[in-house]
Amino acid sequence: MHPAPSVILFSTLSGAGFGLLFFLGIGAPDVIGWVAFVFYVIAYMLAVGGLFSAFFHLKNKRNAWKAYREWRTSWLSREMWAAVAALLVMALYAALQVFAGLRVAPVGWLGAALSLLTVFTTSMIYAQLRAVPRWNQPATPATYIVAALAGGALLAGQVTPALWLLALLAATVCFHWWSGDCRLAHSGTTAETATRLNGRVTLWERPHTGDNYLTREMVFRIARKHVVKLRVIALTLMSVLPIAVLLIGGPHHIPAALAVLSHLIGVGVQRWLFFAEAEHVVGLYYGAHQRRDA
């Protein structure tokens, strides 16, 4: 799949933003007044900034508001509802916390649950697609939720949970890579089932001499030879380096900022790979993902 920068930016930033909102919602850290205000500004900038970046991915933006309609069947529509609900509930909770110094815990819990639900709905947009076997597995929502929680814990300054969650994130992402690598083979979809032709099938000629929307969007093949290196880079920046910085630097602002920066870049690389590595079965009609011996 084509790794569109707007979508990678969206899922990285808004994931961390909703993760921070989750921790603020459960009262960790328990802050009021200006300190709370700064936390909420960071959380909303990340969450809303991410959503805004996804908006720019749309090709017909004036119909975007109609996405509220089909929540019964569409995960994208559910994501919109969950995001709006989470942001509104947390705004109420934040306003009471910042301006009245009040922590109304049940509102916070509801906001925290909605924030996690938003991340889950985002992940289900990918996980529901049978046509992209690498995404079509339970490890996809797990990766998104653990990444949001780890980023949220880091941003919320919860050092001990952050350490555990970063380690868990590394494990979850490794599992997603490992199981993802054989998902296409396990899906049973091959050039032979795509064409139902009897024998060994290879592409002889594409429909047109140029690229088209499908090949640009879904038959993306670049830097697969660098996959192992990029995975190591993602793992190091996303989990290993932040854990090391937190253990050495302790709960201070500068090490924490470094850890957050490294983590977000690492998650960005992981999300880039999430798209770049994903094989859409339509590629089989364009000569991609062929067996080595074919």
Partner: protein, 258 residues
Amino acid sequence: MTALPPEPKVKLGLVIDLDTCVGCHACVIACKGWNTQGTNAPLSDQDPYGDASGTFLNRIHSFQVTPERPGGAAGLPQTVHFPKSCLHCDDAPCVTVCPTGASFKRAEDGIVLVNENDCMGCGLCAWACPYGAREVDEAAGIMKKCTLCVDRIHDETRPEEERQPACVRTCPAGARHFGDVADPDSAVSRLVAERGGVDLMPEQGTRPVNKYLPPRVKDTLQGADIAGEEDVLAPFLAPVTEEPGGFLGWLDRALDRL
């Protein structure tokens, strides 16, 4: 509504004969022509006289098939031309993922359509389709797909023989057939039964309406055994460079050095 309708009583669709198709692309041109000059917005091309990168609702792929003969020996490779457009699936994954309700499947005849006034161009339906039947029109910013020429087939002002999709009407080889696949007595259903018509990617669970008739077994010629090197000159024909340039080239080299 993007919920799928109850099983339609009438399932209009295409039956494509891979034995007869000669790969002339007439259906591709007829489709592009009808859908560009008709009542809808045109199917745009960004560079019509340069690279063929525009929107098409019907494309012909060509495959080489090496049949496996009984006994394990491979037969001679054959060319199969493979027209592909929307299969108007019963369990259309492209419909249920649509957040705006622009995508829908008609209860009366099973045709899958896009309401262009509601589409926001998110592209999720194109991701959901395993067959690559949907393409965003880069000029209009909305999703386009085969309509089964819904503006021809139900048009009472046309003569009877014209009430067929443009691709079917134009096919000079008679490789495309249009009709009600749900009616076991229709001409297309009889053809499917007689020739062993199949669904594409049945394991994807989409239950396509369109069927493909596999090529007939033509001959039993065996390929000659080729021993040794394919060609003594082959090593000299290696590409001069496969390295990307620019920023990507730099990134490529930097990652290589790691």
